[in-house]
Structure formats: structure tokens, C-alpha cells
């Protein structure tokens, strides 16, 4: 069976959940091999978890010389790995980096690219949700090694117990790939809550919070959820941009999305419309968000949310 390369998304060796989802999907195309950019030690440490979730092999590409540069060096290394392994596909997590590495690789190796898949079937047919979730599209790469970026929360995490055999891969990186320099990087402070894109439940607040996110955070914590925000809340300076859900923020697909004091503009919908269950609290019964919901409360979020939070805490 041919290999399928899964590019590992990690922060200082800590593997992020969407990578494990990719390993599940990769098994539909062939035998998963993870590609880990990092130090040889971190790669060896990560191999156990990657193996447990389906990686037969773990290629470790030492990133000592390239980690200070954006995108291009990784695409070069992957080109060399693709030439060596002739994989049945290469999977990436949909994010700025995953998409752009895939984009450069596509041009380098002459391969078709599909972005933001929410599913992959046997044979490589992908499902995408487009036009703010109004259309479902099935597509397939027809030229070259299929390159597919997959949205977080698109597949279950499964433990299958594969070997996870580490293989160091020495890539040659050209000088011209080292031109966009990462001058500084400030990791975001851990909030103690689940990561927004990975969370099973997201509780969001908009302009209707009036800047008071305590009711949003209270409900989020009662549900073990991540906190999100509309652009209006971000533009008002109430929440950092990294919390923004929507076209120009994060795209989320949780089991449950609770929109509070959010009107439901098309750009906001683009980031949450594929959520499995949608709930809204809004004092305006005409708010467009109610067109999307499975359940809605017409009311003041400052009254409804604290009371619901208390009841939920009481039930646990």
C-alpha cells in the first residue's frame, strides 16, 4: 500500500488534535506516514503519539536551520520527501501555514490542491462546504499527488497502534527559500479553555454583550467550551482578534455553537455555519441568526446566560 504523508501541526513538540484527525483520514488513502518538522529529539518524542494514532513511519526533518523562515523551506523539504516516497497524497491542517505550504508545494511538484476539505472518502474524493455553508462540493485531484488541506474537527481521533518508526530525513534547503524571516513570535497565552478551532463546543459573544463577556465566559466554562467573538466585538477592543469567528477570523465546526448577541452577518456565518448544532440568544426576534438555529431564545443575554449557567452547574 502506498504511503500518505501527513504534515504534523505542533507547537514545540505538542501535537495539535487536527493532526490526529488527519491520520484517521489518511488511512482511507493508504498507509499514513507523519512528517514532523522539529528537532530530532522532539520528533522521536512525538513519534509515540503519532504511531498510536496510525502513523507507520515518522519522518523527522530537522528544522534547526529553517524554523526562522516562513513556509518556503517546508515546501522544499516536502518536495524532496514526495520525490523519495511517491505518496498517494499529502494532507495538511487547514490554517495559514498548512495552506501556504501546500500551495507552494503544488506548484513545485505539479499537483492539484484542494483546500478546506471536511471529509475525504476512499479514492480521494473530498467534501467541501462553500459559500458560507450553502453548498456542499465533492471534488478530486486529477493531476499529480493529491494535496489536501483539511479543516479541524473533520474526523474522529482513533487509536490504532501503528509502528511510528522514526526516520530522519535530511532535506536540502536553498538560500532563496530563506527570505521571509520570522523576526519575532509571541505564542498566545493559554486561556485554560479548549482551542477555538478544535473545541467541541464554542460559546460566542457579539456587540450585544456591550463589552461584558463574563456571561459568555461563564456559560463556556460550565460547558467546557471555547470562547469566540464576532468582528464587532473584536473591533470594539473587547476581545483579541484570535477569538474572532468568521470569514476573516477562525472557521469553526464544533458539535455545538452558541451565538449570543450576534446578529448573524454573512461574514460571521462563513465561520460557523457548518457547526452541527446551532443555538442563539438574541433580544431581536428578527435577527438573521435565528434562520440558522436549532434552538433560539429571544431575550437579553445578560439575564438568560447567567441563569442558564447556574442551572447547568446545578445539574452536573
Amino acid at each position: 500500500m502506498s504511503e500518505v504523508l501527513v504534515v504534523v501541526d505542533h507547537v514545540d513538540g505538542a501535537i495539535r488534535k487536527p493532526t490526529l484527525e488527519l491520520l484517521t483520514l489518511a488511512r482511507k488513502l493508504g498507509e499514513p506516514s507523519a512528517v514532523f518538522f522539529g528537532s530530532p529529539e522532539a520528533g522521536t518524542a512525538a513519534a509515540e503519539k503519532l504511531g498510536k494514532h496510525g502513523a507507520e513511519k515518522v519522518y523527522v526533518v530537522d528544522d534547526a536551520e529553517i524554523k526562522g523562515y516562513l513556509v518556503a523551506p517546508k515546501a522544499e523539504a516536502l518536495q524532496q520527501l514526495v520525490e523519495k516516497t511517491s505518496p498517494a497524497g499529502v494532507l495538511f491542517v487547514s490554517g495559514y501555514e498548512g495552506k501556504e505550504v501546500a500551495a507552494r508545494l503544488a506548484i513545485k511538484i505539479g499537483a492539484g490542491l484542494i483546500t478546506d476539505a471536511v471529509d475525504i472518502e476512499d479514492g480521494g474524493v473530498t467534501t467541501q462546504s462553500v459559500f458560507a455553508g450553502n453548498y456542499t462540493v465533492k471534488a478530486k485531484v486529477t493531476t499529480g499527488v493529491p494535496l489536501i488541506t483539511v479543516k479541524p474537527n473533520s474526523a474522529p481521533v482513533e487509536e490504532v497502534g501503528a509502528a511510528g518508526t522514526v526516520e530522519q530525513f535530511a532535506a536540502t534547503i536553498s538560500e532563496s527559500a530563506k527570505k521571509a524571516q520570522i523576526v519575532a513570535a509571541q505564542p498566545r497565552k493559554a486561556s485554560g479553555r479548549p482551542e477555538l478551532t478544535e473545541a467541541a463546543i464554542v460559546v460566542s459573544g457579539g456587540r450585544g454583550t456591550g463589552g461584558d463577556f463574563a456571561p459568555i465566559e461563564g456559560l463556556a466554562d460550565a460547558l467546557g467550551a471555547a470562547v469566540g467573538a464576532s468582528r464587532a466585538a473584536v473591533d470594539s477592543g473587547w476581545m483579541p482578534h484570535s477569538f474572532q469567528v468568521g470569514q476573516t477570523g477562525k472557521v469553526v465546526s464544533p458539535q455545538l455553537y452558541v451565538a449570543n448577541g450576534i446578529s448573524g452577518a454573512i461574514q460571521h456565518r462563513a465561520g460557523m455555519q457548518t457547526s452541527k448544532t446551532i443555538v442563539a440568544v438574541n433580544k431581536d426576534e428578527e435577527a438573521p441568526i435565528f434562520e440558522l438555529v436549532d434552538f433560539g431564545v429571544v431575550g437579553d443575554l445578560h439575564k438568560v446566560l447567567p441563569a442558564a449557567t447556574e442551572q447547568i452547574e446545578g445539574r452536573k
Binding site: L70, V71, A72, A75, G95, Y96, K99, E100, A102, A103, R104, I107, K108, G112, L113, V130, F131, A132, Y135, T136, V137, K138, A139, K140, V141, T142, P146, K179, Q181, I182, V183, A184, A185, Q186, P187, H241, Q247, T248, L256, Q267, A270, T277, I278, V281, F290, V293, D294, F295, G296, V297, V298, G299, K303, V304, L305, A307, A308, Q311, I312, R315
Partner: protein
């Protein structure tokens, strides 16, 4: 300094966007406009021009690839203040994927002369791929400095701040380079009446594939490296249950709903 801004003509997101029978995006039957997200790219190009020591030495060229009507995207950029426009249009381009679009853009850019800066939006509002800037950089062998929320330049040095996947980052590179900008860079200006009048006299060139040295056989739906086999409209959501909060009944109903769906 020369700046090329890549602007895409997209179906209006607030209209009923749909697919054609060949599963390509309907770009003719649905009202279109300059992609909202590319307005920010035009704005940043204009600000770089205005902030430079000799604004008159900076030329901002708006470039679009698309059907006949796509020229509207270039016109809007000219009205906002771009100096000149280029519209590459050819029947053979219809149905092109990212690969072919980036090829045509790269060839068109080479034709007008590789500028110091190629500025793109962070994503097109229809395809939302966020991949064309990186592909362009790859094809033109340029560094990419993408998803900027703040842009600073000094001489040929560019530094951006961006909200990366897991960190807030500062990225730096030397021109020439490909830059993409987010809506965090600040509101785009509206064309003024004067701008609208001035735009009518600005140079606007229409180029075909042969003008830029691209073989029609390299682009379009039939040679796309990926194909859309099916595009189905999502069935309308079954109307959800909506309750009015009266004396606290809303919170109880909400809790009951969450319990019934096993979220608690």
C-alpha cells in the same frame, strides 16, 4: 516603486451565489463586485504610495483575471486611486483552478514587469482558498509575507505584524516580495466623486492569453488539476425552535435543550 495589486471580481456574497451545470462558480448570472477583502489590498497599496517620499514615483497597477464584467473590479480600484489597470480576459480561462489562475497572474505580472510589491487580499470571498498569494510567490520566486494586520516599510524592507495560527508574529523580508493583507489593516476608502471622474481617464489595458504568452491549453476547466464532480445546495435547515424569554423561562428552556442534546 511599482506596486501591483491583485483584485478579484467575485459574486456578491449577499446575493444567491450558485454553481453552473458544469459545477463551476456562476460568475455571470450573479451580480459581481470587487472582492471586499481585496479592497483592503488596494487601500494598503494606496497608503504605501501616499506615505512614500515621492508619491508620484510610485505606480499602483490593479490587475484582475476574469470574465468581461471583471473589469469592474479594476475600475473600482482605479476609482479608489490606483494609477492604472490591467484586465486579463480570455474565454479559455473560464473554470480555471488556483493553479491556472496563479499561472495567468504570474505571467501577466511578468508582462507588465515584476514590481517591487505584489499585494493580494488574504482570501477571495468566493473560493476562500488563501493560496493564490503563496502560489504567485512560488511562481515568481519571491518571498511571501502574508496575512498582514500591520505593515511597515522602510526603503526596500517590509515588516508586517500578523496573527499567525498559534502566535502573534513579526515577519520581515526585502522587496521584491508578495504581500497579502487582512481586514485588520484598516477600513478601505470609498471612491470620491473626484476619484470616480479621474478613473475614467486612467490607462486600462485588456490582455488576452496570447498577449501574456500563455497557451490556452494550459488553463481552464478541462485541464484543471482538480475537478468538482458535484455541487449540491444544502437543504434548507429545518426551522429551529424559538422561544421567548419571559420571567426566566428562556434560561430553563435553553438548559433543557442542551440536556436533551446531551451537551450536559
Amino acid at each position: 516603486m511599482n506596486i501591483v495589486v491583485c483584485v478579484k471580481y467575485v459574486p456578491d456574497a449577499t446575493a444567491d451565489r450558485r454553481f453552473e451545470s458544469d459545477n463551476t462558480v456562476d460568475r455571470v448570472g450573479v451580480d459581481g463586485l470587487l472582492s471586499e477583502l481585496d479592497e483592503y489590498a488596494v487601500e494598503q497599496a494606496l497608503q504605501l504610495k501616499e506615505k512614500s517620499e515621492n508619491p508620484e514615483d510610485v505606480t499602483v497597477t490593479a490587475l484582475t483575471i476574469g470574465p468581461e464584467k471583471a473589469v469592474d473590479a479594476v475600475r473600482k480600484a482605479l476609482q479608489m486611486g490606483a494609477d492604472q489597470g490591467v484586465h486579463v480576459t480570455d474565454e479559455a480561462i473560464a473554470g480555471s483552478d488556483y493553479i491556472a489562475t496563479s499561472l495567468v497572474l504570474a505571467k501577466a505580472i511578468e508582462k507588465v514587469g515584476v514590481p517591487d510589491l505584489v499585494i493580494c487580499g488574504m482570501a477571495s470571498t468566493d473560493a476562500s482558498g488563501s493560496v493564490v498569494p503563496a502560489m504567485l510567490a512560488e511562481r515568481l520566486d519571491l518571498p511571501q509575507v502574508t496575512f498582514a494586520s500591520v505593515i511597515e516599510s522602510q526603503g526596500d524592507q517590509v515588516r508586517i505584524k500578523r496573527d499567525g495560527d498559534t502566535a502573534t508574529e513579526v515577519i520581515g523580508a526585502t522587496m521584491p516580495l508578495v504581500l497579502s493583507v487582512t481586514d485588520q489593516t484598516g477600513e478601505a476608502r470609498y471612491p470620491s466623486f473626484k476619484g470616480i471622474m479621474a478613473a475614467k481617464k486612467k490607462p486600462l489595458e485588456t490582455l488576452s492569453l496570447s498577449d501574456i504568452g500563455v497557451d490556452a491549453g494550459e488553463v481552464g476547466l478541462s485541464v484543471a488539476w482538480s475537478t468538482v464532480d458535484e455541487a449540491t445546495e444544502r437543504p434548507p435547515r429545518t426551522a429551529g425552535e424559538i422561544v421567548k424569554d419571559e420571567d426566566g423561562s428562556g434560561s430553563t428552556a435553553l438548559t433543557e435543550f442542551l440536556v436533551s442534546k446531551k451537551f450536559i
